[in-house]
């Protein structure tokens, strides 16, 4: 799920950026530092949408670096248990398959894949129904439900299932491949 929130961060800026466009440099550095990171509390920071406030800088003794407290708005993505996501399959093996929904890694173990889908090993390992009409392989797009999340300080990992109504492959595997 996506959220638009306000976060705060202390930015350290090198003295060489001190000049007329100090503020631009600061924002650029903020984006570079923050976007794409993951905090266990807020989830993945997808994008910074604005800077609310930059506080007074404090010059560090010895280094000359200046610390600015920065308040910024950003979009974060945080997966929740029970959430339905659309994801792209990245790897298939006998134990199940891995998929990615944006920055989030999701593992679907083989007992959470419908019983009528069987694992086919080979060059392109995949899960296929007995009539071959549905196939899950690398780069397939699937809709899955998250049944568990592990949230570490810097990482979120999810377990998903496609063993429910309206879940499973949502594109033609041939076209994706």
């Amino acid at each position: 799920m996506f959220f638009h929130i306000v976060l705060e961060r202390n930015m350290q800026l090198h003295p060489r950026h001190f000049g007329p466009n100090l503020r631009d440099k600061l924002v650029a550095k903020l984006m570079k530092d923050v976007e794409g990171t993951c905090s266990g509390r807020h989830g993945f920071v997808v994008a910074i949408t604005g800077v609310d406030n930059i506080g007074k800088g404090l010059i560090r003794d010895g280094t000359g670096f200046v610390t600015f407290p920065v308040k910024y708005q950003c979009v974060v993505f945080r997966p929740f248990k029970g959430e339905i996501l659309e994801a792209v399959v990245t790897m298939v093996n006998k134990m199940g398959f891995f998929a990615e929904a944006g920055p989030v890694q999701i593992f679907v173990s083989n007992h959470l894949i419908p019983d009528d889908m069987e694992f086919q090993s080979g060059d392109m390992p995949n899960y296929t129904t007995s009539d071959g009409s549905v196939k899950i392989q690398k780069d397939s797009e699937v809709r899955l439900k998250i049944i568990g999340t592990r949230v570490d300080a810097t990482e979120i990992f999810c377990i998903g299932t496609i063993k429910d109504d309206f879940l499973g492959v949502i594109n033609d595997p041939g076209a994706a491949a």
């Binding site: 093996n93 134990m95 890694q105 593992f107 007992h111 377990i159 299932t161 063993k163």
Partner: protein, 474 residues
């Protein structure tokens, strides 16, 4: 506030969950003699017949060693079935409890006052916590069902993996770290062995690594288990549903209960009639002696209670509750009324239909059969009785006819009064004003018959009043 449905719940739960629990000491080897399975059930049953009870007394009543009992009770305390209370008390404190016990059991409890020493002793008391039992049993059933259903549908279960070599366990959250670039299995971080999915938590181990066939078999097994559980625990679930809307019997803490019981006991001694119902409801809850018929005082309560009706509507569920409600109790009551009415010579059918109609929905068909049988017997007795009276009267009538022949001179008098004369003893004659004129005449010839009839004065009198007519015809 009826305890009976809750007691039934406890008994069912005991048999369902604690039947094969054995309380063996840690160091004792398990031999045939020390196998005390079923003891838990016995103790729970005993507790349903009591309120607060001192554990030593309970041990004595059950002829158990107090240590053994305490171990079981501790177990029940952990299971949240029983509340316990410990306190250091002198003989006096113990006496308060004994008095409370005596109050609840109508003084049938054997006094234990003499046994306590003057030293301080720690006494433990225990009592069933019905409210909690209800919740615990419900929760237990819920968990059982949920576990089975989850496994059955493989839903919301985080797959676990185990390393066959070092026994280290992983779950699906670790999957990212476990994939190996070489093959399509997960590998242990320690020893690089292939991990095995631990899918058969409940199903047997030999089914192996969860291939499709094994999975199917596992599911069948689970479904079987679920079904079996539904069937076997049906009585328990029914009882839970029945108990749902009833007020939970609450004994309060030990002190509160003691105070209440003592007060109730005093009140009962003062005017036993006034709070008969409350006393009886307590009395059956607590029994000094574990007699199966202790519940019988509650027959009236059970009759008016709704729960009995519900209980009996289920044929298989009623077994224990029926024991508490002895059918002969009711029949005796009915007999009495019938006998009373039999004297007035009412036809038995009417009152019989009226009384059991209230009961018939309460009772099982079995009891009805019994009642029918009893009906027939009673009817027979009544008919016999009626016939007997009639015959007596006929005999008397014949005698009187003879008298009439003798005393033909009294012909203008009406027959009934004539007969009365024949019947009544001299002592009663003066009470009758209208008979005064002809009194003297019949007495002359029939003095002996009067004396004979003297014994039956009452019965004859009542019989005569009604039998006027057929007697006339004869």
């Amino acid at each position: 506030m009826s305890v009976e449905p809750f007691n039934r719940l406890v008994k069912l739960a005991a048999r369902a969950f604690y039947d094969d629990i054995t309380m063996k000491g840690d160091n004792q080897p398990k031999t045939g003699r020390s196998d005390n399975r079923g003891m838990a059930v016995v103790i729970l049953d005993a507790l349903t017949r009591r309120q607060w009870v001192r554990e030593e007394d309970l041990a004595k009543d059950l002829k158990l060693h107090s240590k053994q009992l305490r171990r079981t009770l501790r177990f029940f305390e952990e299971e949240k079935l029983v509340t316990r209370d410990h306190r250091r008390e002198t003989a006096k404190g113990a006496k308060i409890f004994s008095a409370a016990v005596a109050a609840t059991s109508d003084g049938q409890q054997t006094g234990k006052e003499g046994e306590e020493k003057q030293k301080m002793h720690t006494h433990s008391y225990c009592c069933l916590d019905y409210a909690q039992i209800y919740d615990v049993v419900r929760y237990r059933l819920h968990r059982m069902k949920k576990k089975l259903k989850d496994e059955l549908e493989d839903r919301n279960t985080v797959q676990e993996y185990i390393c066959p070599d070092c026994g280290r366990r992983y779950n699906a959250f670790d999957a990212m770290r476990l994939v190996s670039p070489n093959d399509e299995y997960f590998h242990c971080e320690n020893c690089n062995a292939e991990l095995v999915a631990e899918s058969d938590k409940l199903a047997a181990e030999e089914m192996g690594d969860g291939d499709d066939n094994a999975r199917r078999r596992k599911r069948e097994k689970l479904r079987d288990m679920l079904q079996k559980m539904e069937v076997q625990l049906k009585p328990l679930m029914d009882q839970l549903a029945r108990v749902k809307d009833l007020p939970v019997p609450e004994f309060g803490s030990l002190q509160a209960w003691e105070a209440r019981a003592n007060a109730a006991g005093r009140a009962a001694n003062g005017d036993s009639g006034a709070n008969d119902s409350s006393k009886s409801s307590q009395g059956q809850g607590y029994g000094g002696t574990p007699m199966p018929f202790l519940g019988e005082t509650r027959v009236e309560v059970a009759l008016s209670g709704v729960e009995v009706k519900e209980e009996d509507s289920k044929p298989d569920a009623a077994s224990t509750s029926m024991k508490v409600l002895p059918p002969w109790m009711i029949k005796q009551g009915m007999n009495l009324t019938k006998e009373q009415r039999g004297e007035v010579k009412q036809e038995p059918k009417v009152d019989h239909n009226s009384t059991p109609s209230g009961l018939s929905d309460d009772k099982k068909s079995k009891v009805n059969d019994k009642e029918d049988e009893k009906d027939i017997q009673d009817a027979y007795i009544q008919a016999y009785y009626a016939a007997f009276i009639k015959r007596q009267q006929e005999q008397e009538a014949e005698k009187k006819k003879q008298q009439e022949l003798e005393n033909a001179s009294n012909a203008p008098n009406d027959i009934s009064s004539d007969r009365k004369v024949g019947m009544k003893s001299k002592r009663q004659e003066d009470e009758r004003d209208d008979d005064v004129e002809w009194e003297e005449a019949p007495t002359t010839g029939t003095s002996e018959t009067h004396k004979l009839n003297d014994l039956n004065v009452q019965a004859d009198a009542s019989g005569d009043d009604e039998d006027d007519i057929d007697w006339e015809e004869g």
